[in-house]
C-alpha cells in the first residue's frame, strides 16, 4: 500500500490525470494526510522553539496600531511561547482533517449536482490528494527558519504565498491577509481539483472548471470585495 501510495504521491505532480485514474478505485490518502499534518507540525514546532519570541510579540502587536494599551497588554500576556506553540500544534492536528472534511463535502455535493454517484468518503480522500502540493512549502519554511536568525514572522514563513512572491505588503496592510493566504500551491490545488473532477466525474471541462473554481472564487472573491469596499 505504502509503495503504491508513494508512487501515486509522486505521480500527482507530473501525471495528475493518471494519478486520479488510479485513485478512483482506491483513493486512501492516509499517507499524504500524515505527511501534511506531521510535516507542518514539525516545522511549526521548530519555528516556535527557535523564534525570538519578544520580537515576534512586538511584530504582531505593531500590526495593530489602533489597539488600546490595555488590549495590547492583554494580548501580549496571552502570547506566551508555550501558549502559541501548543495552540498552533493542537490547531493543526484538529483543524486540518476538519478542513479536508469540509472540502470533501463540497466536492461530494458538486459531484452529485453533476450526476456522479461517488460516495463522500472518496471525496474526503480526494480533498487530501489535491492538497499534496502544499508539501512543497515545508522545505521552504524550514529554509526560512534556518536562515532567519530567529526573526521570521509567521506570514514570512510561507515562501510560496503571493505576498512573499510579489508585493511584500506589511502585516498591517489591508491586502496582506488575502495575499498571505493565497499561495502558489492554492492554484496548483485548484488545477488538481479540476483534473480530478474531470477524471472522477467524466463531465465537461467547463462544468468541472466551474466546480473547481467556485469555492475559491467565493472565498477569495468575497475577501477581495470586502477589502475593496472597506478601504
Amino acid at each position: 500500500m505504502s509503495s503504491n501510495a508513494i508512487s501515486t504521491l509522486a505521480k500527482v505532480f507530473y501525471e495528475p490525470k493518471s494519478a486520479f485514474e488510479s485513485l478512483k478505485e482506491k483513493p486512501a490518502a492516509w499517507l499524504p494526510l500524515a505527511l501534511i499534518i506531521l510535516g507542518t507540525m514539525m516545522v511549526f514546532y521548530w519555528y516556535y522553539a527557535t523564534v525570538d519570541f519578544p520580537w515576534l510579540v512586538d511584530h504582531t502587536l505593531s500590526a495593530q496600531p489602533d489597539l488600546k494599551p490595555d488590549a495590547k497588554a492583554a494580548m501580549a500576556g496571552f502570547m506566551t511561547k508555550n501558549t502559541m506553540m501548543y495552540s498552533t500544534l493542537g490547531g493543526l492536528l484538529i483543524a486540518t482533517p476538519i478542513v479536508f472534511a469540509l472540502f470533501g463535502l463540497y466536492y461530494w455535493l458538486a459531484a452529485k449536482v453533476m450526476g456522479s454517484e461517488i460516495g463522500y468518503g472518496k471525496w474526503f480522500h480526494f480533498a487530501i490528494w489535491i492538497s499534496v502540493p502544499t508539501l512543497l512549502g515545508l522545505p521552504l519554511m524550514a529554509l526560512q527558519i534556518a536562515t532567519g536568525h530567529g526573526q521570521i514572522s509567521t506570514e514570512d514563513l510561507n515562501m510560496l504565498s503571493m505576498n512573499y512572491l510579489t508585493v511584500h505588503a506589511p502585516l498591517d496592510a489591508p491586502r496582506s491577509g488575502i495575499l498571505n493566504n493565497l499561495s502558489l500551491t492554492t492554484f496548483w490545488t485548484l488545477f488538481l481539483s479540476f483534473v480530478g473532477l474531470r477524471v472522477w466525474t467524466g463531465r465537461s471541462a467547463t462544468a468541472c472548471a466551474l466546480a473547481a473554481v467556485l469555492p475559491y472564487a467565493l472565498v477569495y472573491g468575497g475577501w477581495a470585495l470586502k477589502i475593496a469596499f472597506s478601504h
Binding site: Y14, L136, L140, L143, M159, Y164
Partner: protein
C-alpha cells in the same frame, strides 16, 4: 511519459527555486523604522519604576568596650551631631571589675608597706651588726649576713612597688 516526468520535475524545481532566488536576491532595508500617524494620545501622569536607596556616607559604629546595650538614644532616620551619645552600655560588669581592681591596688599598697617595714628593720640590723663587727664582738660574716638580709628586703620592696604599676 518521460517528457511529462521531466515537466513535473521542472515545475516542482521552479516552485521551490523561485522563492529561494527571491529570498536571496531581495535587498533588505538597511534601517528599519516604524511610522505612526500623528494623533492625540493621553500621556501617563505617573511612571512606575523600581530602584534602591543608597547612602551617601555610611559609618560602621563600634564600642571601645564589650558590654550589653542598656539604652538606645536615637531612632532610624534621626539626624545626629558629632559627639552625640547614641547608646548606653550596662555598667554593672564594669563597676564590678573596677571594685576588684581597687581591692588589688589596696592589697599591693599593703605589700609595699610591709616590704618598707622589712627594709627599715633590716637597715637597723645591718647598722648594729656593722658596729659590733668593728668592735670585734661578732664575726665579719655575721655583719655580711645582716647586709644580705637588707639587700633582699630592698629587692622585695622594689618588686612590691613594680606590681603597682
Amino acid at each position: 511519459m518521460n517528457k511529462r516526468k521531466l515537466i513535473g520535475i521542472v515545475v516542482v524545481a521552479a516552485v521551490i527555486l523561485v522563492p529561494v532566488v527571491i529570498k536571496f536576491n531581495s535587498s533588505k532595508p538597511k534601517l528599519e523604522v516604524e511610522l505612526a500617524a500623528v494623533s492625540k494620545k493621553e500621556i501617563q501622569p505617573s511612571i512606575l519604576a523600581s530602584g534602591n536607596f543608597v547612602f551617601r556616607q555610611q559609618v560602621q559604629l563600634s564600642s571601645e568596650v564589650i558590654g550589653k546595650v542598656s539604652e538606645v538614644l536615637v531612632k532610624e532616620g534621626d539626624k545626629i551631631q558629632q559627639g552625640q551619645v547614641l547608646l548606653r552600655l550596662d555598667p554593672t560588669l564594669i563597676k564590678a571589675e573596677v571594685t576588684q581592681q581597687r581591692a588589688i591596688v589596696r592589697s599591693a599598697q599593703v605589700n609595699i608597706e610591709r616590704a618598707q617595714l622589712n627594709v627599715d628593720r633590716q637597715q637597723v640590723n645591718s647598722d648594729r651588726s656593722r658596729r659590733l663587727a668593728e668592735a670585734k664582738f661578732i664575726d665579719t660574716s655575721k655583719y655580711e649576713d645582716a647586709l644580705h638580709q637588707l639587700n633582699v628586703a630592698k629587692v622585695d620592696l622594689h618588686a612590691a612597688r613594680e606590681s603597682m604599676q
